[in-house]
């Protein structure tokens, strides 16, 4: 899956849907906040030097580090 896009590839204000079978790659805390496979997310903003990132889903604004964002594939 060389060209699989991840959260880290999103542009600001671009929406994406988290790909199926991503359970392993999404940190537990994020899943418990409601971000699972097939969740629609939007990249809200990036901190300076593009790390961490802030994503928006279902009314939440959640920041996560680039390292984790790179692992989560989107459709």
């Amino acid at each position: 899956m060389k060209n699989q896009r991840t959260i880290a590839n999103l542009n600001i204000n671009e929406t994406g849907i988290i790909a199926g079978n991503q359970q392993e790659n999404i940190p537990l805390k994020l899943i418990q906040m409601g971000c699972t496979s097939n969740t629609k997310i939007m990249l809200r903003m990036k901190a300076p030097s593009s790390d961490p990132l802030c994503i928006q889903f279902g009314g939440n604004d959640i920041a996560l580090r680039l390292e984790e964002a790179k692992k989560i594939a989107i459709e």
């Binding site: 940190p27 537990l28 901190a47 030097s49 920041a63 996560l64």
Partner: protein, 690 residues
Amino acid sequence: MKKVVLIGNPNTGKTSLFNALTGLNQSTGNYPGITVDKKKGRLNLEVETIDIIDLPGTYSLEPHSLDEEVVLQEILNINEPIDSIIYIADAVNLRRNLFLFSQICDLEIPCILVVNRIDKIKKSGIQINQQELSDYYKCPVVLTSITQNIGLQKLKEELKNCQTASTYKCLFKLNNADFEQLREIKSIKNDYWAWLVVHQKCSHKLFTLQEQKHIESVLSKTTYESEALIKEEAIERYTNIDLLLNSVLKQIDTDKSISQKIDKILTHKYYGYLIFFSILFLIFQAIYSWASVPMDYIDAFFGDLSVWLRNSLPDNRINKLVSEALIPGIGGVVIFVPQIALLFGFISLLEQSGYMSRVVFIMDRFMRRFGLNGKSIVPLISGVACAIPAIMAARNIDNAKERLLTILVVPFMTCAARLPVYTILIALMIPSNTDYGFNLQGVVLMLMYLLGFVSSILASIGLSKLIKDESKEVFIIELPSYQIPQIKNLFHTLLNKTKSFVFDAGKIIVAVSIILWVLASFGPGNAFTSAEQYLENTIEINNTNTYDDALAAYKLEHSYLGYLGKGIEPLIRPLGYDWKIGIGIIASFAAREVFVGTMASIYSVGSKQEDGKTILEKLRQAQNSTTGKPTYTFAVTLSLLIFYAFAMQCVSTIAIVKRETNSWKWPIIQTLGMTSIAYVGAFLTYTIFS
């Protein structure tokens, strides 16, 4: 008395609800995890009085950080079972809020579901199907808006009628024959309780030793992947919640445009940092300039009170204890109140507004280079007030290594207790009339703060190589919408923080002042008790003042305190200090700020205080008893400054590090490490500059 706990996600208005119900106002923070300790309040319900416990905000019962563990342990506590739960959910974010609620319901404890911020969604014309929610979870549902005082009366009614047993039946199934053996333990009430016990080691200590053995033997029989299983649990819960929400309310698109606009500036790659450092600069300016006025008044008041008491009370030992130890001791505590109140006030404003989370967001990358975490910025900033609340604030750092590092380096930050020491030493070193177009004393003081920050960063780099990272927790933080801070909450934060400082730190400072006074007022052997005779042989009495001073000095030298100081003199002589400074250093291990008071009493015990000399003048005139030259030369003063910057000299901090790391290893390493750096640093400084 009935025990009710208050649970909910962070930033749902939980603390505001707690304040509204109990009247015992505490702070509401927008920064996740502000409610660190267990807070209790009482509510009078006409028919009965109930105890309400406010638990830290959390997103799930499976804890990621230490303050979230508190929640699980309180809820599973079998020895003091809870009678009912008030669960507060944010109407604007019902989906995520129902996740934790569905876990709570599965525990089969009677609940009331409070849906808060109802005004926000009514504005968008959306209705919540209250009945449907209530039928599904088999519990009362109350719609509230706490800031607008809507629904509170209804909630109190529901609390009166609260059922004694939950009618909700846990839908959760263990589906594992091995785990089901846990149900043999009586206090594990159903499958979901068992599930939590399986996956959360921190819950085991709630059981008796025999039960713990049973749990261990059951769990050792099977292999399982906790994280994957908990993820499955979460996904299943969200599937159910989504089905329910279809009929309860439609997903609302919340308007976050204002927050987005503010974020564009506050997290900007240049303005973001510029604004952050400007805010810090403003805070420090305010702490120094605004606080100095009340501080002067407090200083003068306690000085006058002490003189007045000495003159109006009968002249005996109690008089001396009160006027020389107790009153100056209390004054030494109260004088910090303006600075501490201002600092905590600013931190509270930053947290309540939601800005602190943005600081965490923009600082994370920078802090990571030193092995820390964006969340470390809050403990480090609070460390400028006091290391104790700062170390406790590190609890919401999920990653164990980053949390430990933060705890270990926070004491390098220049806390408020060092400020009086720095102020007096800098004044000794640099004449106040130095004018280069700016205040040189102020610049040196700023450099000392910078030194504190830089050394905490350097220490962190070094330590991060030594500590292994075993934690799986990653950095995830919610950025809540900006809110206007509530003045009422700010006021109560100030009141609570100041109270706890005055009473917690105050006790130690007053106790030390009294111990010092006793040690200085009594001594072993003849040299102390018949000092007059010894002196008569050595000094010609031609002036009562000189005689009194000489007598006082002679007595001090032969008091217990004097011997104590002389005992450590060989150790500190290489740093340029004499035994009097030695006493100051010993006393500082109770609390650093004691140094100034100690030096003041050492140079004035028994001497005529009416001469009106300030501490500064007394120190300037002080002479080294062995060399006869002035004690506080440039080299000695600078060496002392360096010593105080690094030495871990605060028993309370050591105690809190022990409690927070749950080991003696780290506080010991920290104390030895910091004090060695202080010793070597002070030695080098003295050697170079003398």
